[in-house]
Amino acid sequence: MLTDAEIMAQVFAAFQEEQAEHRQAAGALLLELERNPQHPQRQQLLDQLFREAHSLKGGARAAGQMEIEQLAHRIEDVFSAVRQGQVHLTPDVCDPIYAALDDIGTIIGQVVAGQPVSLDPYEPLLARLSAIVESATPAGPPDAQRSGDTMAAADIHDQPAGVAPSDRPVPTPVLPPIVDHAPHTPDTNEMLERSLSLHSDTPASDIHTTVRLSTTILDNLLNEVGELMTCTIRARQHARDLHALTELSTRWRQIWRKAQPALKRLQSRRPTLQPTIHHLQQRTLEREHQAQAIADQNTVVLLDTLLQFNTLMIEIDSRLNIQARLSSEDHARLAAVTDRMHDQVRRTRMLPLTTLLTPLHLQLREMARAASKDIRLELDDGGAEADRQVLERLHEVLLHLLRNAVDHGVEPPEVRVACGKPATSCIKLCAAVSGDHLTLRLADDGAGLDTDAIRHRAIQNGLLSETDAARMSEAELHDLIFLPGFSTRQTVNKLSGRGVGLDIVRSQIERMNGRIALQSIPGIGTTFTIHVPISLTSSHELLLRVGAATYALPVEAVQRIIQVEAQAIQVLEGYAALIIEQRPMTLVSLAELLGEKRSSSEQHHNAGQTQRLALILGSGERQIACLVDGVLGEQELVVHRLPPPLQQVRLIAGATLLADGRVVPILDVVDIVRAAIGTYRTVSLTTEATAPERPAHILVVDDSITTRTLEKNILEAAGYTVSLATDGVEALDILRRLTNNGGCDLLLSDIDMPRMNGFDLTMHIRADNELRHLPVVLVTSLDTPADRERGIAAGADAYIVKRLFDQHMFLDTIAQLI
């Protein structure tokens, strides 16, 4: 029997899922109503909105989440007042509701993490929500519903005290006397008819047409299908082996046929041989005759054996043929079923794109408000669906691009009006599926990219010479903004996002074996086109031999495979380069990158001796050539993501199983390109690349022990050395002590702190001759352009908003600055 605790755990798990749906639905409905107060279905939407809040409240109660119930209750009160026309959905009313919906998510997170939950931080918000309801002005002429409410209120007072839930009396199914004046708009008969006709449309068999499953089950199912696919490939191999065996028996038949004449001759002598033997035994003749007789006897035995052999061989051959045929048939059937099953499991993991896109509305609204811009988002999902995993990754990417569009793409309203554009700008996001690929197009109607600024910036950064820059086409220049750390804007805008550039977006997409392109027309706008597979569960992989090991690499990632001539490899500035069409390209050996034990001189030596294969990986400015020992072929393989703690292994994206049961690592192309370019940088910039590497030292300053510990854990897990300080004064002390002791490589600081806040700390550092070059990252809950501006003015290098905290972005930002 279930214990109370077990019941509550199960109920909480259900609530965790349910609340997310209600919050999302309520947010989307509210946004729709806020944007379009004259919505033709306003009343229905309001009713639905109310119901979402109501269910949220009820669910919270059932799951024992009193804090959430409180918040949901206040939200419901506001919606109730809105439904009665007493409150209007102005931004002042909507903002605390959105905040409360978000806070419910936060509380759920805390409960899941086992942290204590308190309503204290939410008191101001609860008060704001109550104030909205209390300040509600009664609507004009009372309508039917309101008079009903008033009466209901009166009824409460009329109720006997006995209905209090704690000591309920035996319920009496008696109609209260007030029944005559109860408003009762639709006629009961009419409603009955309606419900009966509804019923006839819904046969009982339709009741259980859908079920809810945990995603882990789907993941496991997919893994099982993966194993099944491996079995199918093995079955194919068995079938082929059996066919090969039948060929052996064919050879036996050929040999037998050649021996036929000799056998026939022997057989024809056989009748004469036999009586001779008798004759011999009976009469005992001379010795030579005896010898002849024994030889003849042996021949007869051999002949018999051979004939028996042949009969056996024919039997084996026919059985083998049957087995081979059955095996082929079984393989074909297994392959077809596995294929269909894989397809169906893949389909069960598909979610409509709308689940990804709807939340973007809300997020865009917030970004636009923060940037004081008026932006409309038009979505067209084209009915597309994609794998859950793809959608999760795309969400991050789209959020980044939207933020980029809000911050850089779209002009402020006054500028737009001056250019003759409507003050409200429009960002369009449309999707289409073709085959097994999904294309997303995100277009803004902003100012477009400033090609001159990009050119200028590239020259300034030393990426291009003036002549190269002048020669480059617009498209080539546009491609530069995908390079790490590249931005044409001044610091404030550059860091307005999460302190990282579009290179992260591109890496994310390339990790999904997709690609991103952009098109920009000055004054008209910028369009990003993203092309990704709709599922990442299987892919065409190139199998490579590196030393004795086999690795897989997604085919899409390989631009081409070339034979490398010895003379095409040169050593430029201390690093190996491959000259292709007169252009040098960074050359790395996969064996070396993967840590196969071979010295680099031996490597070059080998390369000098024989022709070798190189894969061209990456795109645009980041193309590299990668030496491998052999290409074994191409196969469609199921991609298995590695379980924790192996999810973040450098250079490895996952693993796959080959037909022979071998586990083969799948290489991460983005990591390889990054590592190759990184190698080239360290080699070309410093001559002492052999100096032992000290882990970078980061000082974390935060007055909250939770934040400090969280950040410390993340950073240490990423291989950094971490020191801690609780405020600005202590941080300065530690920094000065560290300067004589190896120094500190980066400062990560909160803003609101006792004694000295983050802004002042940054300014002190910038004013200090010894510390002024220290990269400073501010991590804060303050997220307005003014705060950001203040942080940048104080001299911070990046600004990370706690609300948007994402571990990858966090580490990427830090890695970029160190």
Partner: protein
């Protein structure tokens, strides 16, 4: 044979909480999440008791209750309605619709449902 309870409730969390509590008492529980689903399940399975939420998609709880109570095959099934907290209007509409008991949705709701089922002779 276990007595059969039909819960008609659109909130999965609330439905599950009730379901687990009732199963613990040895009852057999089915769940419908919309009014029309509830109607179909009630008419095809004829449960021993129906626990009915008021605010349901497609077909609200009162209408469903009234419909079941006028249909001779289902009229005998006791119906316990779960109503909004403090809303006397609901109570009245519920009883008017022919419900056998009403229980406000508050922190005592699950206990009160069990109590009600005892009174109705189901438990």
């Amino acid at each position: 044979m276990n007595r059969h309870v039909l819960i008609v409730e659109d909130s999965r969390t609330q439905a599950m909480r009730l379901q687990l509590e009732l199963q613990r008492c040895g009852l057999h529980v089915s769940i419908a999440t919309t009014g029309t689903q509830g109607m179909a399940t009630a008419q095809t399975t004829l449960p021993d008791v129906i626990i009915l939420d008021v605010d349901l998609p497609e077909l609200d709880g009162y209408t469903l209750c009234r419909t079941l109570k006028v249909n001779p095959t289902t009229a005998h099934i006791p119906i316990v309605m779960l109503t909004h907290r403090d809303e006397a209007r609901d109570t009245r509409s519920g009883l008017e619709a022919g419900a056998d008991d009403y229980i406000p949705k508050d922190i005592f709701a699950e206990q009160n449902v069990l109590e009600s089922l005892r009174l109705l002779g189901i438990l």
